[in-house]
């Protein structure tokens, strides 16, 4: 069974940074932060702690409030309710907010916002109190742009500009570095490269960082922790493999990776689904309280396998086949009503209309949610 690429990357990251769990005290604390525009809340009761040296990503669809949250941390917006504390100092709370120039927070803008009338070196030095050529050189080295000090930002490529923006924000040694959709302006190829680069730079600098994105692959691959936001609220915070593997809500489940839901009734010792009986032990947590109720079990395409099965006990019919390059994803309509997705390598090929049986091959416990 092929594994989801994302998980592979996550695993790799796990291998290369063994110290992931050893982060320090919280540098950034959001407590019940709410922001209203007009009557509508754009951000509602968000509480989050970011520890020293951590890289946390706020992930969510557009309009979920992640950028607003970022701007509140930066000081470009003030919260309607709640507090923001940086390094123990309250910078935003009821009725007052420290302006951005007085906070020790750096921000890398989505479109980099480099000063066109200054050179690269002058851009980087902008936030420094006094000119410090050595430090500028140091930073340029860190971002792999040695010797670029006298160049003009106009002549740089997208990737180079991003690195200048990074160096510039790092120069004043902020307590927290914020990144607003840092890779969305790069083309796809460059994105993967730059992700690694940026993570390397951030870790080398030892800076605490909060990033914002709608790209789940990006979030899952480089973050120490991921915070999923939806409609102004924080749905779940946790390590990438946790939120991916054990999503706490339907939304998170659907947002990350591809999700299919198997309906079933909870009976003694397990769940009766259209794919057969699942044992209690195969499910996350305890379903004791839900005996007798209807639930939905989360299955991902790599948890399922379709096998040809022409006999009368088929589960469903292949209705769509999507070719993704390395694999096929088949959409199967189960007779019972659910629609599931199965992922296969290209050795196996099913045509539309083929009757198949579905096998469950998960090697981890499955998440489930009360039926809606």
């Amino acid at each position: 069974m092929s594994r989801n690429d994302t998980l592979t990357t996550v695993e790799q990251t796990v291998k290369t940074t063994p110290e992931r769990d050893s982060f320090g005290e919280p540098v950034l604390e959001l407590a019940d932060v709410t922001k209203r525009f007009g009557g509508e809340p754009a951000v509602e009761s968000v509480s989050l702690d970011v520890r020293e040296g951590e890289l946390v990503t706020l992930l969510g669809p557009s309009g979920c409030g992640k950028t607003t949250t970022l701007r509140m941390i930066a000081g470009l917006e003030a919260p309607s309710e709640g507090t923001v504390t940086i390094s123990g100092e309250r910078v935003a709370g009821a009725r007052d907010a420290t302006p951005p120039e007085q906070r020790d927070v750096g921000l890398v803008f989505q479109e980099y916002a480099l000063f066109p009338h200054l050179t690269v070196g002058e851009n980087v030095a902008f936030g420094l109190g006094e000119a410090d050529d050595e430090r500028v050189e140091e930073l340029l080295e860190l971002v792999d742009l040695e010797g670029y000090a006298d160049r003009s930002p106009e002549n740089l490529s997208g990737g180079e500009r991003q690195r200048v923006a990074l160096a510039r924000s790092l120069a004043p040694e902020p307590d927290v570095l914020l990144l607003d959709e840092p890779f969305s302006n790069l083309d796809v190829r460059l994105r993967k490269e730059m992700r690694e680069e940026v993570r390397r730079i951030l870790k080398a600098a030892g800076v605490t960082a909060v990033s914002v994105t709608h790209d789940q692959e990006e979030a899952l691959s480089i973050s120490d922790r991921v915070a999923i936001m939806n409609d102004g609220r924080l749905e779940q915070v946790g390590r990438p493999e946790e939120v991916f593997g054990h999503p706490e809500s339907r939304f998170v489940a659907s947002f990350l990776g591809q999700a299919s839901f198997l309906t079933g009734t909870v009976v003694e010792g397990g769940v009766d689904t259209s794919l057969g009986l699942l044992d209690d032990s195969q499910l996350d947590g305890s379903i004791e309280e839900y005996r007798g109720a209807e639930i939905e079990v989360l299955v991902r395409p790599d948890d399922l396998r379709a096998i040809p099965c022409p006999g009368p006990s088929t589960h469903g019919e292949v209705v769509h086949r999507q070719y993704t390059g390395p694999s096929f994803v088949y959409r199967v309509e189960l007779d019972a009503g659910d629609v599931v997705h199965c992922q296969h390598n290209h050795a196996t090929e099913f045509d539309h209309g083929t009757r198949v049986c579905i096998e469950l091959e998960a090697d981890h416990s499955l998440a489930w949610y009360p039926a809606e």
């Binding site: 009725r95 907010a97 302006p99 951005p100 916002a113 000063f115 902008f126 936030g127």
Partner: protein
């Protein structure tokens, strides 16, 4: 985004940036009010005229005559400008006329000559004591048809303002999607029909925009009707102002401003009707080139004649007079001194500096604010632009004398008049410069530890500087050429290029005006360059 949050009031949120926004709004507001003062004063003066006198003056025969003269002049010049400008635009943009690029430049160039210099040159060429009369006299022709009056005014004003129509029509033509015309032709329309049914309707907003510029200019022009001895409102207001007859002056000013408002209303209606695409060159496919066939070379006569009359004649005349000595008969006007040029430069430079300073808050508020309220001061400043110079002069004269006597006769009043009239030029260029600056740059600077004012100074200001400089240059150059307000408000003993030319023109001592007039044309040409540089008018195909 950040300024907008702060400008719109939200209860329970006070921060230093809120205060800054308030200060900004107050600054902008006070500039706008200051600039409106002359007009408000004029309105107030008119109000204080007793009713009976008001109606008495309003319904006199002479008032009606002047009103008619003005309206006829404006309509005639506008119509003629369209007749000249549109074909020229079509010829240079859509046909295979030879030397198209040259003719495009030549067709736009008459804007360079201040209209009163043009009138001056025409009178000295075609007037009863002019070149032509002298040339014809030996042939026994005693009198030539008079250049004065309506005919002369219309000809001169058309020659030097038609380029407005030319330029806007041309811009429209260049932005029309050629595929629509091609579609019409695949639907069985001849070229002419396609032009009439597809191109022309799309041209209307562009033509209208140019025509209304012409109308506004004509309405507020003082020099040409005065030289041509044609009684329109500007001329009469000037006479009444110098005779210190406040009641007449204010009533006529009201009427003139009323006409201006009518024209502006017409402009806004037409502009709303059609897109403002008239000004935008989208670079889409253009309609195919029209072949003129055997008319090709004959067609060049049209732009050539216009260019000869508008561009060749005035400098030629002035140069001829340069060579001649002043006839003693003329009563010996004062000799030209370079101090006059220096005075012009000084007062214009002051006006440019003041305008730029005043423009900054208006432009910033308008560019960065949200909602209609933030662009209100900017729009208010355009009022000063629309009010004719002679009315501004009259208004400020009254204000100075009655409200701030200590300022009466000082240079400050004249500088203020220029600011009132030309502030919008500085606001316009500054505002578009600010709009081009990414608001995130300011935020970036703040996240790098710079307080808002420092961030503004280090980041926004350097990027906006080209726009500011262009605005200052425009105000400087337009002030150098301004006539009516200068004549009315100049301090005692303060002569400028313009007042000198005027004085000399009144004494018919043409020769002495040659040098300063040529200097003025040169200066005007510079301002054209600045305008063209900013708009990047495409002369190429």
């Amino acid at each position: 985004m950040s300024v907008s949050d702060r400008v719109s009031r939200r209860l329970g949120q006070r921060s230093p940036s809120d205060i800054q926004a308030l200060v900004l709004a107050l600054l902008a507001g006070s500039v706008a009010v200051a600039v409106l003062t002359p007009l408000l004063w004029v309105l107030n003066s008119a109000r204080s005229v007793p009713f009976s006198r008001f109606f008495d003056i309003l319904f006199r025969q002479t008032t009606l005559d002047i009103f008619l003269n003005t309206v006829v002049l404006v309509v005639a010049v506008t119509a003629l400008s369209i007749i000249v400008g549109v074909p020229l635009a079509v010829l240079t943009a859509q046909t295979d006329l030879p030397f198209r690029r040259l003719f495009t430049v030549l067709a736009a160039l008459p804007l360079v000559v201040p209209s009163y210099i043009g009138a001056f040159a025409f009178v000295s060429a075609f007037g009863p004591r002019g070149e032509l009369a002298d040339a014809l006299a030996p042939l026994g022709i005693e009198q030539i048809p008079s250049i004065y009056g309506l005919v002369g005014s219309v000809i001169v004003l058309t020659l030097f303002t038609y380029p407005y129509v030319f330029l806007t029509t041309r811009a429209s033509l260049l932005s029309i999607d050629g595929r629509a015309v091609e579609a019409a032709r695949t639907l069985n329309h001849t070229r002419l029909e396609a032009f009439r049914r597809v191109t022309l309707p799309q041209l209307k907003p562009g033509i209208a925009a140019g025509a209304l510029l012409v109308a506004l200019y004509t309405l507020s022009d003082f020099g040409t009707p005065a030289i041509m001895q044609f009684d329109v409102f500007t001329r009469i207001i000037y006479v009444r102002t110098t005779a210190r007859q406040v009641d007449f002056a204010s009533i006529f000013s009201i009427l003139l401003v009323g006409l201006t408002v009518v024209i502006l209303l017409a402009e806004s209606r037409i502009e709303r009707g059609g897109e403002t695409s008239a000004y935008v060159n989208r670079g889409t496919d253009r309609p195919g080139v029209v072949r003129l066939g055997r008319w090709r070379w004959v067609a060049t006569l049209f732009p050539l004649t216009i260019a000869a009359l508008a561009l060749a004649l005035p400098p030629a005349i002035l140069l001829t007079w340069l060579g001649r000595s002043t006839p003693e008969l003329a009563g010996a006007a004062v000799d030209f001194q370079w101090a006059f040029a220096w005075n012009s430069v000084t007062v214009s430079a002051l006006a440019a500096g003041a305008s730029v300073l005043a423009a900054l808050p208006l432009a910033y508020l308008s560019a960065r604010g949200d909602g209609r309220l933030s662009s209100l001061p900017e729009r208010a400043s355009y009022v000063g632009y629309a009010v004719p110079g002679v009315v501004v002069g009259f208004g400020l004269l009254s204000v100075a004398l009655n409200v701030t006597p200590f300022l009466y006769g000082s240079l400050a009043v004249l500088v203020f008049a220029y600011v009132v009239r030309f502030l919008p030029q500085a606001v316009g260029t500054t505002r578009s410069s600010i709009l081009q600056v990414d608001p995130q740059l300011l935020e970036a600077a703040r996240t790098l530890g710079k307080p808002p004012l420092v961030a503004f100074r280090k980041v926004v200001l350097p990027l906006v500087m080209p726009g500011i400089v262009a605005g200052a240059a425009l105000v400087f150059l337009t002030s150098m050429k301004e006539l009516a307000a200068t004549l009315l408000l100049r301090p005692f003993g303060f002569e400028t290029l313009v007042t000198y030319i005027w004085q000399v023109q009144e004494a018919a001592a043409y020769g002495q005006a040659a040098v300063p007039a040529l200097v003025l044309i040169g200066i005007s040409a510079l301002s054209m360059l600045v305008i063209l540089g900013r708009e990047r008018y495409d002369v190429k195909e």
